[in-house]
């Protein structure tokens, strides 16, 4: 009868006035939340409004946000990748392994990124070639990839990365702007253009809304999805380089549990978990919101595990609110 989310899904290319649409859109709501959090934070703690502490705050979320950009595209297309955190672990392990053979910084970066890409391609092949459901495939590869790290490392750790490698996770490009954060901004722009300004981006929406129609319209569904899995793997590889460089060590438990945080970020950003709708602006704002929440609460000495309650509640409330409001509105109108 009510096939729930499917009927209530909003189609992104709406026809009413662009101004009205922009004001009422999900990203504007998120922007309001972000500004509110920013003001709250600066009132709550005198240490918040300093360029350096704000800069430090960005380290909390940039690596996850970089993955979230690609994950957003994947989820819009109706798939999901739960193995991203394990790809980080595997890529980091491969870099550590290469380090033992005396590979220097450029080689390490190349190996990290290539491992990520290879993992993404592996996921993509399983999903598109064999027609398997991505949620199960990536639950499998999630164990598999991190499992390889555990086999290689056991309870050991790789350390001793060269000083020049530290730049990626610890360096600054200009004043308080870290390399990580600058890279995130560049990627955000690139993904915005890819999703919202190219025909490839339109294909992603078409596939997410109606895969069969997409196929009849000549969209090469499998190929697009394969590319999206590769992109997600690639971004995870890049995130792995950043994180490994920031921590200056590799343990098999690196980035444990990040997959759920990345998905939370994407869903919070207004991407429909069932596919077909979403925007990069939303995901970027959601990344900032999650960063602000964790950093603000951190300044107030709230432990990390309690913050996770806020994040979880935020996720549910933010999704439930429009549904409840819409229902109340519908009731009073009808």
């Amino acid at each position: 009868m009510k096939d729930d989310a499917r009927n209530t899904r909003h189609i992104p290319d709406r026809l009413d006035s662009p101004v009205r649409a922009a004001v009422l859109s999900w990203p504007s709501l998120l922007l309001a939340v972000a500004i509110g959090l920013f003001i709250l934070n600066s009132l709550a703690s005198p240490y918040f409004l300093s360029p350096w502490s704000l800069s430090d705050a960005t380290f909390n979320f940039t690596e996850k946000a970089i993955i979230a950009l690609a994950m957003a595209l994947l989820i819009i297309s109706g798939e999901i990748d739960l193995s991203v955190a394990s790809i980080i672990a595997l890529a980091s392990t491969m870099m550590g392994l290469a380090l033992q053979f005396g590979v220097d910084t450029p080689g390490l970066v190349a190996i990290g990124i290539a491992t990520g890409l290879a993992c993404g391609a592996f996921n993509g092949l399983l999903v598109t070639r064999l027609g398997l459901p991505s949620i199960v495939v990536t639950i499998g590869t999630m164990s598999f990839f991190r499992g390889i790290s555990f086999i290689v490392l056991g309870d050991q750790a790789f350390k001793g990365y060269p000083p020049s490698f530290a730049f990626f996770g610890q360096g600054y490009v200009w004043w308080v702007v870290s390399f990580e954060f600058a890279l995130f901004l560049v990627f955000a722009c690139a993904y915005y253009v890819l999703l919202h300004r190219t025909s490839f981006g339109r294909w992603i929406f078409v596939i997410g809304n109606n895969q069969i129609a997409a196929r009849f319209s000549g969209v090469r569904v499998e190929r697009v999805k394969f590319i999206l899995f590769c992109l997600t793997g690639l971004m995870s590889g890049i995130a792995s380089v950043l994180l490994t460089s920031r921590l200056a060590s590799t343990r098999p438990s690196i980035a444990m549990g990040w997959e759920l945080e990345v998905v939370t970020m994407v869903v919070l950003g207004g991407v429909n978990i069932l596919g077909g709708a979403g925007s990069i602006q939303g995901v970027v704002l959601a990344a900032f919101i999650m960063g602000l929440v964790t950093f603000g609460l951190g300044l107030l000495n709230v432990p990390g595990i309690v913050m996770s309650i806020f994040i979880g509640a935020l996720l549910i409330v933010v999704i439930a609110l429009p549904i409840v409001v819409g229902r109340i509105r519908g009731r009073s109108a009808g």
């Binding site: 949620i135 639950i139 069932l274």
Partner: protein, 326 residues
């Protein structure tokens, strides 16, 4: 006979037995009845959890919050036990199941009343439940010496050659089998997964049945909360951290289709046994336990590939409410 040969449960059973026999060749004694019963006892909790997860997956949903639910319910009863050791343990067991039921109802209500996808709801409650443990306990642990002897013994008392823990799993498995094959609720769970639209025409309240599925998974997770805390004699924030995916993995290996409507109680039990046997076999044949994660990952991938070959190929996509192919 040929019908039995064609089921995937049969072949999964063969694989599990073959693994036990194979390990026995390398290390005699592994296949001894006592040891096999020990493995079964160690896998009991996972089996119960896999059954709960199965009820939810059949309806095309997923419950990622089971491990957190388990940890929260277990922590609460452990703290009550530490504070009031005079309370009889069966009361605490019932209480654990009730707490779990409440948490499951919360998940189910959000899915039923608000129509939020189950994966989103339980992703949220996964972190919320675990965070609550920290808030309730103030970051403290409940250790063995704080628990009453009864509290620890109620999973260990040997009845007819098996510890009570194993018996709980057997009773629940039998109950579940009857529920799934002999009651209209069980059949409704399958019907919803196979074809939600047709189920509505058949007079099934789809939303309410999904809600009940979440209640089942919640109550079982809560009950396992007691079992876990009693079995491993520790209550902490870290209990069963990340276990939610192991539970899903058991179901997937057991042939329960993530697209809903396909799967059996025996399959879920065998899926859990598969992981349990691997767990026990690795150290015995001198493979570092660090291999376990990669092996279960590979097993999941293999299981999905085999599942897909069994089902008809078609437009079935996870996370989409498309019509099933058959």
């Amino acid at each position: 006979m040929t019908r039995v040969l064609r089921t995937r449960e049969f072949w999964l059973g063969v694989i599990v037995v073959a693994m036990i026999v194979g390990t026995n060749l390398r290390s005699p004694g592994f296949g001894a009845p006592g040891n096999v019963l020990g493995i079964f006892n160690n896998t009991s909790i996972l089996m119960i959890l896999a059954l709960g997860q199965m009820a939810v997956i059949l309806t095309r949903s997923i419950d990622l919050s089971m491990a957190s639910n388990l940890a929260l319910s277990g922590m609460i009863v452990a703290m009550i036990n530490a504070a009031h050791p005079e309370l009889p343990v069966p009361v605490l067991m019932a209480l654990a199941a009730l707490i779990g039921l409440g948490l499951g109802m919360f998940n189910g209500a959000l899915v039923w009343r608000l129509g939020i996808p189950a994966i989103v709801v339980t992703l949220g409650t996964l972190t919320i439940f675990r965070g609550l443990i920290f808030l309730i306990a103030g970051g403290k642990w409940v250790n063995a010496d704080e628990m009453s002897p009864d509290f620890i013994q109620y999973t260990r008392i040997v009845v007819l050659g098996m510890p009570l823990l194993s018996w709980y799993a057997i009773v629940i498995a039998v109950g579940f089998f009857l529920l799934m094959t002999r009651t209209s609720l069980g059949r409704s769970l399958y019907a919803i997964g196979v074809n939600p639209t047709a189920s509505v025409y058949a007079g099934i309240d789809v939303g309410r049945t999904k809600f009940i599925a979440f209640c089942i998974s919640g109550a079982l997770a809560g009950f396992c909360g007691y079992l876990w805390v009693s079995r491993y004699v520790i209550g902490s924030v870290e209990v069963a951290n990340g276990y939610e995916l192991t539970i899903v993995a058991s179901c997937v290996i057991g042939g329960i289709s993530i697209a809903g409507g396909v799967g059996s109680v025996v399959g879920a039990l065998l899926g859990a046994s598969f992981l349990g046997v691997i767990n026990s076999a690795l150290p015995v044949i001198n493979i570092s336990p660090f291999w376990q994660m990669a092996i279960s990952g590979a097993a999941i991938i293999l299981a999905v590939i085999l599942n897909a070959r069994g089902e008809k190929r078609g437009g079935r996509l996870i996370l989409r409410q498309t019509e099933p192919a058959k």
